[in-house]
């Protein structure tokens, strides 16, 4: 048996640091013990199972590794997750939110949604899959309640506006949000830094206060994670 040490993250409850073989890795408490969602490593410690959270696979983990100060996703809260894809990050968000939380996972691609349902939603009752176009928030207003935070990771040229439209409908007053900007899906010809500045400007014009901007190198190229609120 390999020696394992587990600590809770200094500032983020429900996020853990697992130390094995001298390496420190991020992890979340596995809500469905015994199952690995996307092939991630499972670690046991004091009868609790943890899922290793790979920063190369999940941008949220990358942001935490790069020193994120504020994580709007908390236990027992409702989260609107735009661009759920196959559910890699969603599964960890679901771990953090726990049984009393709700994760509304919006994804447009039926192929990704198939994986999301099979791998994540079947086992996790706190994840609600929504096959819809995030550009039209009204499409799913019958399914989503007002949320405490929004996590937006859609590779769209107009992602700042898309996020703001969703926040207008679903984000509670004083709600917090995280948005991932992929500069290459906005314009391949411009410098990432310029694009991030421009996107932040758009968000500020929509009435948001940007509190943190984190570049995700070396985990993801030309990506930035922005935390913000009204």
């Amino acid at each position: 048996m390999v020696e394992v040490e587990v600590h809770e993250h200094d500032i983020f409850p429900n996020v853990f640091l697992v130390k094995t073989r001298g390496q420190e890795k991020l992890a979340t408490r596995n809500m469905v013990p015994g199952t690995s969602v996307y092939g991630e490593e499972l670690v046991q410690h004091n009868d609790i199972e943890y899922r290793i959270w790979d920063p190369y696979r999940s941008k949220l983990a990358a942001a935490i590794k790069k020193g994120l100060h504020e994580l709007p996703i908390k236990q027992g809260e409702r989260i609107l997750y735009l661009g759920a894809a196959s559910g890699t990050t969603v599964s960890h968000v679901s771990d953090i939110a726990g049984n009393t939380g709700e994760v509304y996972a919006v994804e447009f691609s039926q192929r990704s949604m198939r994986d999301l349902i099979e791998k994540v939603c079947r086992n996790r009752s706190n994840v609600r899959p929504i096959l819809a176009d995030a550009r039209v928030p009204a499409e799913y207003r019958l399914l989503v309640r007002i949320v405490d935070s929004v996590y937006s990771d859609v590779a769209q040229p107009n992602q700042a506006n898309l996020f703001s439209d969703n926040a207008d409908v679903y984000l509670k007053e004083k709600g917090r949000a995280i948005i991932v900007i992929k500069s290459r899906s906005i314009d391949v010809t411009q410098r990432p830094t310029d694009i991030f500045k421009k996107e932040i400007k758009i968000l500020e014009n929509c009435g948001f206060h940007v509190s943190e901007v984190i570049r995700l190198e070396p985990f993801d190229k030309d990506h930035a994670m922005i935390t913000l609120g009204r």
Partner: protein
Amino acid sequence: MKSTLVITTVGIFALNSKGSIIERKFFSKDPKKAADRYRQLRKGEIVPELSQLLKELQKNNYDELLIEDRILASKISKIKDFNCKEFNESSVIQKFREKLDVTTVKLGRFSDRQDFQDFTSKVTLAIAEEAITSETQKKDLHAIQAIRTLDDLDKTLNLFSGRVREWYGLHFPELEKLVDKHETYARLVSDLGDRENYKIDKLESEGIPEQKVKLISEKAENSIGYSANSSDLETLQSLSKNTIQLFKLRNATEEFLEELMKKIAPNLTAILGPLMSARIISIAGSLERLAMMPSSTLQVLGAEKALFRSLKTGSRPPKHGIIFQHQALHTAPKWQRGKIARVLASKLSIAARIDSFGGEFIGDQLVEYIEKRILEIQKKYPSAPKVKKRYGRSRGSRT
């Protein structure tokens, strides 16, 4: 009197202007059935629960209704005595939705908040599953899979045919040059095996042309390859047999695809032919996405690498993507290709839109028009233009 209709995953509610419930109709407690109702309502169907609710409202003299859904609003307005309008945001509805768990528990529909959550969670899952089922029924997805299968098969067949030739070449090297067609070669190996069996009658029954039969059997007698015993060739023959099967599968796939494309995209197929139409849909992602594209994008589909290089460095943009494979384009002289590509792309866009959103077959007219335009282009630009100084070649010169 006025009333607001609220559709939720648990049922339909009619509220008065203060936001309290006047009437309610719950859906079934079976999540699948509730999801079904949701889907029907989104499509604008007046489901039994809704018509019951409307009857109750009629009795109580509510004739002015508000609902969030435009299609439903117009459907309800068609019913006698109702005037139904669509509206978008309202704090009444929002407040109601927020308190739905508390409200329904109070009404005794759910035992507690957890019960409500479990149920709505199951309904949401069922809705997503249902949506996927109906998505996967789209026929263009099948065409995309079929064309990709075809490409995979072609790759594999080349690989295996090459392997059969290499391996059998040890035993009968002369056959390599005598039989061009991979399929025929593989069949000879699998049926005849040892080169001693390459007798005239056997070759004839394999359908080899007369003048070749004699040549092959002569070469077989004087081959410089090693002499094999039957067990040596067994595995190789089995490989050949499987390769032949793959050839059959390839042809069947092609036939299937041709039939399918004529059905799902007749106009596109009329211009591009079934295989290329399927390929261009495959690159676009779906027929609908292809139809939504500007034709300038369609023109360079398949040349993304060149396109993005051009955007990044300012080098010259591509004139054509996959449509280059069209007869009219690759046989045309270089200086006419850009013009022809534009004509082709613009008509393909029209074809894709008709195919995607349902319309008549005008493929023949489109083809006719394209041919006419090409003749005009050929007449107008019969010879290569004088070489001008090339523009925008250096990196970063784009403004």
